[in-house]
Amino acid sequence: MSFKAPRILPALTVVTLAAGFILVFYFAPNDADQGFIQKIFYLHVPLAVCALVGFMVAAVQAVLHLRSGDPGWDARSYVSIHISVILGVAVLITGSIWARASWGKWFVWDEPTLVSFLIVFLLYCTYYPLRYAIEDRERQARYASVFAITAGAFVPLNFIAVRLAETLVHPRVFATAEGGLTPKMTLTFLVCLVGMALLWQTLVRFELAAKSTRARLGRLRRALEGDEVAAGGSRIAPVPREAPGAG
């Protein structure tokens, strides 16, 4: 199967995100409690939501992979996790800056979403060494799918546990993130959220297209140079030419 690079999607992403950022700085009012600092919320929370949803999407794709045996689903699952981890880095950086601006410390254990996210991020970082440690491609794909499903089940549990742990001791710090949003703020937030979701999808499509191209190059090289050449394409979630099941 070959994954094509997206055409309209990147343009749509740029337009939506630009509109979102314009709304952030020209339209949304300043927060009563946190003032200008709260503007980071429009960046940090959509990134976090998209990363977490991305992990759940990867879990669903992993289920589809296990049921159908189609390596294309494994490639999609891997890329979903990969892009979500990248967004996760952005979440942690922006969250850290927000914590520093609000509380003077680069990390606060008082904010349950940030803490849960750190744990989830650490878990999904172990996905890579797991894949690299298994050489047989089919087995690697299967085990990775099992991991993606397990980790996907873990995410909501983790959030519940951390939130319970924190709220019993400290009150929510970034309470404005939850309630107390004026309609203007809500609109701005939604636009940014849609923009980040589009960004996620764009990056996933690009990543899949790059993998697909590399796999085709590998096959071409093997066809031209003979089978002595090491199989081209990635050792991790390789994209096959034909999917054995549903395309």
Binding site: L66, I119, V120, L122, L123, T126, P129, L130, A133, I134, E135, R139, R142, Y143, S145, V146, F147, I149, T150, A151, A153, F154, L157, N158, I160, A161, V162, L164, A165, L168
Partner: protein, 222 residues
């Protein structure tokens, strides 16, 4: 059912005969307690510190057992036997979960009294603490069996297992410590949030048993 019992009996019999895992875990726990005494520079523990030291020690001792739980199957072809026999792969999963849970309970039978003695922990909270530990052990065993199955067929298996395990066990740590901390408090056990934390532990156990049952056959495929 019979496959489950057979595997469980085999593993327990082997452990009783060779005494490989549980004594090592107990010794490890005792030594870790000594390390904590010096690391924290305290001779008496209560409340959150007591809960943290005990649970962290149990967690790390569990990793020892989890790393070893499938080694025999891998080296002696036990996986192939399960694959060929007309037996559900989940019997293997269920048996290994029970084996790990039994090892952990045996460990705690030794380690908790040692802990109470070494750190002058009040005995009043120990009985409800046992209930917390039972639920936590079941969670440790379930996730441990799952992760161990994933790791045993990979290359750096002793490395991959703890790496995958620790983030997954954070909610167990949170809930168990949340429940244990008021139980070990200086003024005697308190039960304010006990039910809530136990509910979280139970939920965790349920979710991962379900996940394990759903995916285990895929791990056994060749």
């Amino acid at each position: 059912m019979s496959a489950f019992r057979a595997i469980l009996a085999k593993d327990l019999r082997t452990e009783l005969r060779t005494l490989e895992s549980v004594p090592a875990m107990a010794l490890f726990a005792a030594t870790t307690f000594v390390l904590f005494r010096f690391g924290l520079d305290r001779t008496a523990l209560e409340g959150s510190l007591a809960a943290g030291v005990l649970l962290a020690t149990v967690l790390f001792a569990a990793i020892l057992a989890i790393n070893r739980v499938f080694v025999a199957e891998r080296e002696q072809g036990g996986f192939d036997v399960i694959r060929l026999a007309p037996v559900d792969g989940t019997s293997l999963f269920a048996a290994k979960v029970c084996v790990l849970a039994i090892y952990l309970l045996a460990l705690e039978l030794i380690a908790v009294p040692v802990f109470a003695i070494l750190f002058a922990v009040g005995a009043a909270g120990l009985a409800p603490l046992a209930a917390v530990l039972v639920l936590a052990d079941f969670g440790l065993a379930t996730v441990g069996a799952l992760v161990s199955s994933i790791a045993v067929n990979s290359r750096a298996r002793d490395l991959i297992a703890p790496l995958l395990l620790l983030p997954l066990l954070v909610p167990v740590m949170i809930a168990a410590a949340g429940a244990a901390e008021p139980l070990l408090a200086a003024g005697g056990p308190a039960y304010g949030e006990f039910g809530q934390w136990m509910a979280i532990l139970a939920l965790y156990d349920l979710v991962f048993v379900a996940v394990g049952y759903a995916v285990y056959d895929f791990l056994l495929e060749d």
